[in-house]
């Protein structure tokens, strides 16, 4: 056995625990899917014709335009859910018990992360399904779809570690449900719903440099063949930086002495 094997074993055990929670109490997962679906329908059927005209098409063109933004919105919503469930879990006595056991310390966190990543990917799949039903028509081949999955998985992984850290940092569950809120706004303050060129200068600068925009642009490129440029590299860079920083932060928060 390598030194890694026990850690993997414990993480798998913790993952089973988290998946069981999700299956037994599906309301959180349903909410994570429901909210972006409502936004998708709202933006397609209420604002779609007008906004579509703004990008030189109609409602159909706008479905194609907005779906990547809605996918990232799903991700941001799921991050809130993760932060809340981590912060709720930490006050449960069972986590105190885990801390007195000779198990891999990170396993409690990796169980949450892997569970949430799977949950988020599943939610996103449902959202994409609904988008396809209302007229989303990408022209991507299997390879491009695989790349889409890869980019999304990487970014979900990064945001989930961030959410875990925010959940650990929060002193209460309310705080944990509020601190990831700004993530929900990022698709709006980027190229998710309208092109950044239509924004005033300061906002436009922010929109172009924030991490969600390169991800959205990479998705558009893979799904519709629009130019990707250096967006993909920047998106991966953001993901790696967020994942690493958040992982280290989360580990530190989890390892701190709860009495100090």
């Amino acid at each position: 056995m390598t030194a890694l094997a026990p850690a993997l074993h414990d993480s798998a055990t913790m993952l089973r625990r988290n998946l069981r929670h999700m299956v037994r109490y599906p309301s959180l997962t349903l909410m994570l899917v429901g909210m972006p679906v409502v936004f998708l329908l709202l933006f397609v059927y209420v604002f779609g014709a007008t906004l579509g005209a703004g990008i030189g098409g109609g409602r159909g063109a706008y479905v194609d335009y907005v779906t990547p933004g809605i996918i990232l919105m799903t991700m941001a919503g799921a991050a809130t859910g993760t932060a809340v469930s981590v912060s709720m879990d930490m006050v449960e006595g069972i986590v105190a018990r885990f801390r007195t056991m000779a198990i891999s310390r990170a396993s409690v966190l990796t169980g949450h992360v892997v569970g949430s990543v799977l949950q988020t990917l599943l939610s996103m799949a449902v959202v994409v399904g609904v988008a396809l039903a209302v007229g989303f028509r990408p022209n991507a081949g299997p390879l491009e779809w695989l790349a889409v999955l890869g980019v999304l998985a990487l970014f979900v992984f990064a945001l989930t570690w961030l959410a875990v850290a925010l959940g650990l940092a929060a002193k209460s569950v309310e705080t944990a449900s509020n601190t990831p809120m700004p993530l929900m706004l990022l698709p709006f303050l980027g190229s998710g719903f309208v092109p950044t060129e239509s924004m005033p200068a300061g906002l436009r600068w922010f929109a172009e440099y924030q991490p969600f925009t390169p991800v959205i642009e990479t998705l558009r490129g893979l799904l519709f063949g629009t130019p990707i440029g250096n967006h993909a590299a920047i998106a991966v860079g953001w993901a790696v930086a967020i994942a690493l920083g958040s992982y280290l932060w989360a580990r530190r928060l989890y390892d701190r002495d709860p009495s100090r």
């Binding site: 026990p6 069981r20 037994r24 069972i94 105190a96 018990r97 000779a102 002495d257």
Partner: protein, 321 residues
């Protein structure tokens, strides 16, 4: 080691344990020594620092000072070796409420890497032993307080710990459940494990523990067997009962001290309850050929001990939470 080779290593040894929260000193130099295979009770009122000690000894929080070894391992240097040897049932329930009783036990078995078949077997055994078989498939959130407490302890036992910490194991249990818990604790010790328990109930410490330490405001104020502690305080007496009022009067005359109860024909004589003083007492009655119908020795109980040592009763009313 300075220990003579015959002395077995203690299961828990702590010296000079200190802990404060800000300027509030919670533990002020506590020394503890628990022999392997015994029950040790840490007795103290609300806020005395019992949970703080348990949390430190079980690696949950760090102390500000002091040396601790648990199961032969230094707490600061080898926390994982300590964790591998101990089992903890904290004051507040440490079960996963979303999982069923059986799933909670299997979770523990998986974390102890018992393997699937052995884990299931162990879970089934423990459910049976703790009378939880009927509730095994129900989420722990639906369990009563007593069932949660039993599940909690069952989870602690999955890994066969050598040293078990129980923080107020019977608080909130009804008298019958409390007796059941006591029985379980006795069986565990009979199996060779060491038990470190905390309690606010003087009766419980008296009933279970080989040695008792009294904790008050973060300091140990007394330590010893229940008998030793009771002997620390005055208040013990011998009660003598006589067949007739003449015997009663003669006895009072012979002993020169004591309080009479004419209706019950009893005489209460102050005594430390020791054999020597009893023998002396009986000899003086014998000298005058006074027949004693019945004799009973009343040692002070631990309530008296607490009252004497701290100047206030042991069981303060529970904090409102």
């Amino acid at each position: 080691m300075s220990n003579p080779p015959t002395a077995p290593a203690p299961a828990v040894a702590a010296t000079g344990l200190r802990k404060s929260y800000g300027s509030h000193t919670v533990l002020d130099g506590v020394d503890l020594r628990v022999a392997a295979g015994t029950i040790f009770a840490l007795l103290g009122p609300n806020g005395a620092g019992k949970t703080t000690i348990v949390k430190i000894l079980t690696t949950l929080i760090g102390a500000d000072g002091g040396d601790v070894t648990v199961a032969g391992h230094d707490l600061a240097r080898e926390p994982d070796a300590v964790r591998a040897a101990i089992g903890v049932t904290g004051q507040y329930s440490a079960v996963d409420k979303f999982l069923t009783g059986a799933e909670n036990l299997i979770l523990m078995a998986d974390l102890h890497r018992l393997g699937k078949a052995e884990g299931r077997r162990r879970a089934a055994d423990l459910l049976e032993r703790f009378d939880l078989t009927d509730a095994a498939g129900k989420p722990a959130a639906t369990y009563s307080g007593g069932m949660l407490r039993r599940l909690d302890l069952a989870m602690t036992l999955v890994g066969d710990p050598r040293v078990i910490f129980l923080d107020e194991p019977t608080t909130g249990l009804d008298p019958r459940s409390r007796r059941t818990m006591w029985q379980i604790i006795r069986e565990l010790v009979a199996g060779g494990v060491t038990i470190f328990l905390t309690t606010q109930y003087l009766e419980e410490a008296d009933e279970l523990a080989d040695r008792i330490a009294l904790l008050d405001h973060g300091r140990l104020i007394a330590e010893g067997t229940a008998e030793e502690l009771k002997r620390l305080v005055p208040g013990g007496h011998v009660q003598l009962r006589f067949a007739d009022p003449d015997g009663l009067a003669a006895a009072l005359d012979a002993l020169g001290t004591g309080s009479l109860d004419d209706d019950a024909l009893t005489l209460r004589v102050p005594s430390d309850g020791g054999v020597r003083s009893l023998r002396g007492l009986l000899a003086r009655l014998d000298d005058r050929s006074i027949e004693v119908a019945a004799l009973s020795v009343h040692l002070p109980d631990l309530d008296d001990v607490f009252l004497t040592l701290t100047g206030r009763p042991g069981d303060d009313p529970k904090d409102p939470r």
